[in-house]
Amino acid sequence: MTAAPTTNVPPNRGSAAARTRIQNIVLTTVTYLIAIAFLFPLVWMMMAAFKTEAQAFAAPPVFAFTPILDNFQRALPSYFPALLNSLTAAVGSTILAFLLGLPAAFALAVYPTKRAQNTLTWMLSTKMMPAVGVIVPLFLLYKNLGLLDTRTGLILMYTTMNLPLVVWMMHSYMTEIPYAIYEAAKIDGATVSQEFFRIALPLSMPGVSATALLCLIFAWNEVFFALNLTTSDAAPLSVYIGSFKTSMGLFWAQLSAAATLTVLPVLIFGWVAQRQLVRGLSLGAVK
């Protein structure tokens, strides 16, 4: 693997320096090429959103075209209710998962016992059931509890989906906090809640933002529960996108416009939060 870090290499003499420079240029070019390849599908989709249907599936592909907004005109009216539902479900479930998960993660991290390990394992194992395997019982439960097609219902389900993640990730961040800090607080007579609010929480804040970002992404992109547990009032963007897919007729440009609208908020959010995420991850789950 020649891709080993080559930064801050001390300036060597003559040809060695030149070789390093050439190597650097090559590696940078390779990096850019890979990045372009990775971004291409997304860019291609977004381009299709501004094409006519005929241009969207033309062969050979159309690169130069007059962008049109027709696709967005059809996609926009039903967009905002779905956007609101997606935001509510994603944010609501993330908050609830943290309210439930943070204390548990704290307790499991600061008072590790054999049973704590088992608890953690069990919590993770609840994520192993394929959603489709439990959808019929869930549907019947939701029907009887009046939760079908409600935002509350979605929030409850996404909390279940993300809670093990919150506990597991936050647990690993909190175990990273040097034990001596707790010791010192204990000597000062701090209570458990003080330990939590004054030490564990502030010190694992980067972890909180990283975990929250993941929770929001997973909830935003969830399709299966959304499709089966909501119909119209609470339908989020993942259901909205489905209404642009059809087994009849031509739909690529239309679907691309709807997909662009669906992906854009989480993309922008992800880009902005990315720095935070890198910092958070580097402090916690990864030493």
Binding site: T52, E53, A54, F57, A58, A59, I135, V136, F139, L140, K143, L148, D149, L227, N228, T231, S232, D233, A235, V239, G242, S243, F244, K245, T246, S247, M248, G249, L250, F251
Partner: protein
């Protein structure tokens, strides 16, 4: 002090709650019912959604909420809902295959009593205007359970320009043998032109729809009168060999990923010499907005095979029905009779600016309408003929214990058809041989007939 303020606020909130409750009751009393309509995301249904305003002009007190999804998602969602009686939908879009099965399960409201109750509506709706074959398909034991939104059959589409170039002409009633011959002459993959496009995407409503019509007209059937599976019969074998041979030699690459949409894309871009598929495609291929072959597209009957002229073209309809679990039966009835009426069809023509894009295949009056004949002349008579001839009770050479042309109208068929569809696709992609595929298919069909208690 504290307790007084608490009591005060309690009292106040109680008053508030009471007044709110009264307001709710009052508004409920002044009518305004809301109905939720679940429908397929096909262009004709999207048009219906767009005309909601027109419906409200006629029935201002009914609020309409829409759930529009792709076919598969919609089918699974409605089935789960009606099977559990959740009652999320007041109007459901149900396929021709499901109507008799769901009616038998008691999941749908019979419409005959509702027509009897609303004499004025029944008169203007005029049930006898519905095409007889369509009406028969939606009737179980004398009761109508759904009204047709549009109906379709299958036919042959061809590209006249490519035919001319290859020096061949399409007869009005081609045989499969002729089709293969034409395909061989037209096929020119290096120029991006393929002789024939057909569905290869596995699914009971995808490759099995077109392949079952082939089996029918090659003289085969799914089951004999004792529900013994017939998938290893010579007719199936000849049909499958023919299908695999034709598509691998003269079809586009990736045929096993091609369903209706993919083939429509290919055909409309002038990449296929021929395409055998649903009659509704005629409208799309004649639409200059997305089709490049508007001026060169030709229409012919679905091909017949060596076995029998029966069952060579399928019958399908999308229908509107009222689930038993709906609490808004009256409002729902008003909607389904509006959306399948003669006046709705005229409304679509007005809104779309052309009679060519009205929902086809449901009413005799549509086909006797001079405007429609003029706008859709190129294919309208062919479509009407195909639908009229598509007899769901006589689709095979030899007698069968089931109804349906491109499907077997039993609840288990959806699963069986899709499973067999996978085996057929396996043979098409070369993952298995024709004999292996048919052996697997035969076993699966026999298992279904045994488990379902059909075989004695």
């Amino acid at each position: 002090m504290q307790s007084i303020s608490q009591r005060y606020s309690f009292k106040r909130s109680l008053t508030l709650a009471l007044s709110l409750g009264t307001a709710a009751l009052l508004s409920a009393a002044s009518a305004a019912s809301t109905i939720t309509i679940a429908t397929v995301n096909n262009p004709d249904m999207v048009t219906m959604q767009g005309l909601t305003g027109e419906f409200n002009k006629k029935y201002p007190d009914i609020t309409v909420k829409w759930v529009v999804l792709p076919e598969n998602e919609l089918r699974q969602k409605i089935t789960l809902d009606v099977a559990s009686g959740a009652g999320s939908f007041d109007v459901a879009t149900v396929g021709a295959y499901e109507v008799p099965i769901w009616a038998k399960n008691g999941w749908l409201d019979p419409l005959t009593p509702l027509f009897a109750k609303n004499a004025a509506l029944a008169k203007s709706y005029n049930l006898s205007d519905l095409l007889p074959s369509v009406r028969t398909a939606l009737t179980l034991k004398g009761n109508l359970y759904a009204v047709p939104f549009y109906a379709e059959s299958s036919m042959t589409f061809y590209n006249k320009a490519l035919f001319q170039k290859a020096g061949v002409t399409m007869p009005a009633q081609p045989t499969w043998q002729q089709i293969q011959g034409f395909a061989a002459k037209i096929h020119n993959p290096s120029a991006g032109v393929y002789g024939i496009c057909m569905r290869g995407l596995p699914g009971w409503g995808e490759n099995m729809a077109v392949f079952t019509t082939m089996v029918n007209t090659f003289g085969g059937r799914w089951f004999d009168n004792d529900w013994k599976a017939q998938l290893n019969s010579p007719a199936w074998k000849t049909a499958l060999n023919f299908y695999v041979d034709t598509l691998t030699k003269y079809g586009p690459p990736g045929a096993t990923s091609n369903g209706f949409t993919e083939n429509l894309t290919l055909m409309s871009q002038g990449k296929c010499g021929m395409w055998i598929d649903a009659t509704v495609a005629a409208g799309f291929l004649s639409d200059p907005g997305s089709s490049k072959i508007v001026n060169t597209v030709g229409f012919a009957n679905a091909p017949v095979g060596p076995g029998t002229p029966r069952g060579n073209n399928w019958f399908w309809s999308w229908n509107l029905a009222i689930p038993k679990s709906s609490k808004q039966e009256d409002a729902a009835f008003k909607f389904i009779t509006w959306a399948t009426s003669k006046e709705y069809i005229a409304l679509v023509a007005k809104a779309k600016g052309t009679w060519a894009s009205v929902p086809p295949g449901t009413r005799t009056s549509t086909y006797s309408n001079a405007n429609y004949k003029k706008a859709a002349g190129a294919f309208s008579s062919l479509v009407l003929k195909s639908i009229n001839e598509a007899d769901v009770t006589k689709a095979t050479k030899d007698p069968v214990p089931y109804t349906g042309i491109q499907f077997v109208a039993i609840p288990e068929f959806q699963a069986l058809g899709t499973q067999v569809g996978q085996y057929i696709a396996g043979a098409l992609s070369g993952q298995s041989t024709v004999d292996q595929a048919l052996k697997q298919a035969q076993d699966a069909a026999n298992k279904v007939a045994k488990d379902g208690g059909y075989q004695k």
